[in-house]
Point group: C2
Chain length 563, copies 2
């Protein structure tokens, strides 16, 4: 086992992907920041999946060859019209651009690209310059029956970006990535949909310098895809940031929208609250490109208090007590922590192992505190907001946790997590090079059903050889929480993967949990969602679709089960 520590083992593929290659498409993030897993991580994976060094001899299906697609089917006249509308430089139809626009970061996307089997792509990628371009494109495509797919950072893991009807993808990041208005008095920012997380957050953090504000602010929304995903993507999927227990999900953060549909443009009003009939924002939010294109979003923002966020962490003797404590914290009436991440025993052991903390002496010491390997659970969190509010909340959390037998585990786990919060996805590709799949799935359940959902998913994974399931509560509310599953499996063929995932989605549906808490539905979970909602609700959603998109051009082909 010592060989793992050797720099030559496993023989990681460390070169940046060749430009234009399949790998350049599926490899996560910034190639310069891609780091193979640390030795402790490899040992952990080998332990969990009962693998040996032999399994890590030769990386395979690296996808280093150039992307090749069938030629686009867009009519010559359509291409010419679009070039006349947007400028030739804003209409792309090379293979790489087309496939990039239609490829998310779900495991199916990754497996397909590694096999050189691209999913359905658009015929062209357009780069609209402003809202007027959006209106023109949507009108033109509606007339011509050309499918339109708005795309954000393409970090979707739900097959929301596939283009089974071809058509055009809209890359909103190129020109529509600006902050349009910052209103400090009413604590809002209005942005274009293509702006990415870091740019928005940097501007808000430096609002006194950059936006002429009296106070620095934050957007409060930090999904794991933060560095690459866009506001438009957050809104389209009903995403959640890792700190949403305090700040709210994106549907809580959107105050108003300008939204271009084939039936016309909707501009909702920037009211703090209203009693003016059905909430149209909440119809458009989460519509995953099936109803129209977001042209502008006005988001609530938060003043950054002088006291930055503070970490806390506790180790619990078991999962049941930990869940009870989590529930009590959220129902206590002292406010919500921002990050609130409670790992199950499997994930807790994995986290300790990764950080080299599974040592006999430490285990013995923790054992004397009632914290035994395989049962103990790690809670880590942050508080946010005004300093006195944070102090009181941490005091209450401590009291509740200790009342459930937990032991404080210092601020270190929270800080370690913060350092690596956006790094995790980089590990997936390196492991998949050796046939180790690392996938995620998430759902939401009420407190009285949470342990049952967790157990059912775990049981399903245990029943499959060479499979491990690590889980945590990732976002918590007074009524329940989301469960986030990290799935490790020796598995690298598409049919095996599809069967594995379908089985887990069956479990989630059968348990009555929400089919997604923040990833969205896409084409992946659409059949399960349709079954859960039933015909009356599905028909209502389809009527909304017909009204706003009568020609059915907006992201057609199964997203949300609408066609």
């Amino acid at each position: 086992m010592t060989a793992v520590a050797d720099s030559g083992f496993p023989p990681w593929h460390r070169e940046p992907p060749p430009p234009g290659s399949w790998r350049a498409l599926f490899q996560w993030g910034d190639p310069d920041r891609s780091q193979p897993p640390a030795p402790a991580m490899v040992r952990l994976v080998m332990d969990l999946l009962a693998m040996s060094e032999t399994d890590f001899q030769t990386p395979r299906r690296l996808g280093l060859g150039p992307v090749r697609l069938a030629p686009p089917r867009l009519a010559h006249t359509a291409r010419r019209d679009l070039e006349a509308m947007l400028g030739a430089g804003n209409v792309q139809s090379d293979d790489f651009a087309r496939l990039a626009a239609a490829t998310g970061k779900g495991m199916l996307d990754l497996l397909r690209l590694r096999c050189g089997l691209p999913g359905p792509t658009p015929d062209a990628v357009l780069h609209p310059r402003d809202r007027h371009d959006l209106v023109r494109i949507v009108e033109y495509c509606a007339r011509g029956g050309i499918a339109v797919l708005p795309r954000g950072g393409a970090t979707s893991v739900t097959r929301a970006l596939e283009c089974p009807a071809g058509g055009v993808a809209l890359d909103l990041r190129t020109h529509m990535d600006r902050i349009l208005r910052f209103n400090e008095t009413s604590a809002t920012v209005t942005v274009q949909p293509g702006i990415r997380g870091p740019r928005l957050e940097a501007a808000l953090n430096r609002a006194p310098d950059w936006l002429g504000a009296a106070h620095p602010h934050t957007c409060g929304h930090f999904p794991q895809s933060f560095e690459f995903s866009t506001v438009g993507g957050w809104v389209a999927t009903r995403g959640a940031g890792q700190n949403s227990s305090y700040f709210g999900k994106i549907e809580d953060l959107v105050l108003a929208q300008e939204f271009v549909t084939p039936a016309g443009t909707i501009r909702t009003l920037e009211h703090p609250a209203a009693a003016t009939g059905p909430d149209i924002d909440q119809i458009l939010l989460g519509s995953e490109g099936t109803l129209g294109v977001l042209a502008e979003a006005t988001l609530r923002v938060f003043r950054l208090p002088r006291a930055g966020p503070r970490c806390f962490s506790y180790l619990f003797p078991d999962w049941g007590e930990a869940l009870e404590a989590a529930r009590e914290v959220l129902q206590d009436g002292a406010g919500a922590p921002s990050l609130f991440r409670l790992s199950d025993p499997a994930e807790t052991e994995a986290a300790l192992a990764r950080h080299g903390l599974r040592r006999p002496a430490l285990d013995a010491f923790l054992g004397r505190l009632g914290l035994h390997p395989g049962r103990r659970c790690l809670l880590l969190g942050w508080t946010e907001g005004e300093a006195g509010f944070q102090r009181n909340l941490r005091r209450r959390i401590g009291r509740i946790c200790r009342g459930r037998g937990a032991v404080p585990a210092t601020g270190w786990p929270g800080k370690a997590w913060a350092r690596s919060r956006f790094q995790e996805p980089y590990l997936r590709d390196h492991l998949l090079d050796f046939g180790v799949l690392v996938d995620t799935l998430e759902c939401a359940a009420s407190w009285d059903g949470l342990a049952r959902v967790h157990r059912a998913v775990q049981d399903r994974c245990r029943a499959r050889p060479g499979t491990a399931c690590l889980a945590h509560v990732s976002h918590a509310y007074p009524q329940g929480a989301s469960l986030y599953f990290v799935l490790l499996a020796r598995l690298d063929t598409i049919p095996e993967y599809q069967a594995f995932q379908a089985g887990l989605l069956d479990v989630i549906r059968d348990q009555g949990a929400a089919m997604s808490h923040h990833h969205g539905i896409g084409r992946m979970a659409a059949p399960w969602l349709a079954a859960q909602l039933g015909p009356v609700q599905m028909d209502l959603l389809r009527a909304i679709k017909r009204q706003l998109d009568p020609q059915g051009i907006m992201n057609p082909g199964g997203t949300l089960g609408l066609d």
Copy 2:
């Protein structure tokens, strides 16, 4: 002026309304608790509207005669079918019951009834026994093209209850007023729509005894109509309780619904949060009876902390500083107060006068603190939640208010307000007996527009002789607040009233404020809402209506501008 103190002046009409009379319909609340205004109140009204004792000589249009309507138009066969379906005792068609079902507590309702001019009524009032009855009624009426109007406590002030197409009104209070499930683990209660506020709240407060819970709870929703309005009415209108700044509006409190529509029954799922496409709950919420009938609602509930709510109050030197302080409190990051009621100078003087506090010595004392009559503003509020959270929040509020020149005004105003919180509506009828109209109107605006909206409404009122406008911020958010206007006017004819109200609705729309924050839209503000939303949004709402109610039987005739 001393005559006012005399028990014989004004010659209030103190007798309980004769059974079956117009007055029995329009007089607010419990006849045994009806108290005429105190002498200080009468003096205040006389001052505000430049009235003299002569104006209070003779009460008029008391509506003591019996209600008489044109006979119902429901076909004999339909009546027989409904009786067979529900039992004869659950089908009423006497004049009083029919008019009661179609009459809210808006000023137009009151003026009409006083004139013996009933608005449009249903042909029968049905008392469904359970959800199966609701399904049967809706199916039957859809087949027969019979209009259906679900009603709650009939405290609507927006003309939502009129029945221009006749048909049947559903009184859900008679049999469908039960608590179905209480889930302490997930902090929810599931109720039938006809349950009234006090019954729900009493059961939750006594949850340890009545519902087998470990802790007492609260529903957190206390509209001024609390004693009479129903959960179904709260949900249908997107209402807000007086303490909603902490607990949330009803759309934040509804977790799931069972909702019977002509197209079938919708049951939304009890998920704490989800990313599963458009939010169907938020389509049904606020639909004001136009899409279907609520059969069950699952509401979030809150643990009652040992520390009860605590009052605070401050007097500010002027409205501008007070609004700034209110904004800072909500944006501070220390959590929100529950009650947060900031009176403008006019309302502040009225409140002081009503409580006999406009005395030269007190004015001189306050003047030395910079608090001058006609400029000073009263803020009163409560904190709610865990004791330490409350303590910290009150400390922060104090700091912010004092930083804006405010002076603490003790807990007395908050307690005095609490004592009379549900009493105010009782005064209206007594004053209207003497031709003094006391009406209310409310809207919501962002912080950067709030002062402008307030000024515009005030200016409009000032331009009308014999009119006064008292206003307060009634519910506050980080992005803005609602403005609640109490309008006093010498005015008792219907056309005068309609012109007056239309002028104010014009102002609210022109200022870009939300047409309602918590009263809803009804038929009253529908034309203004339609103008504000524009054709694309209105067409979307109409498409939703068509899908769920293709025959157009649900509350037809202009509510929300849908037909």
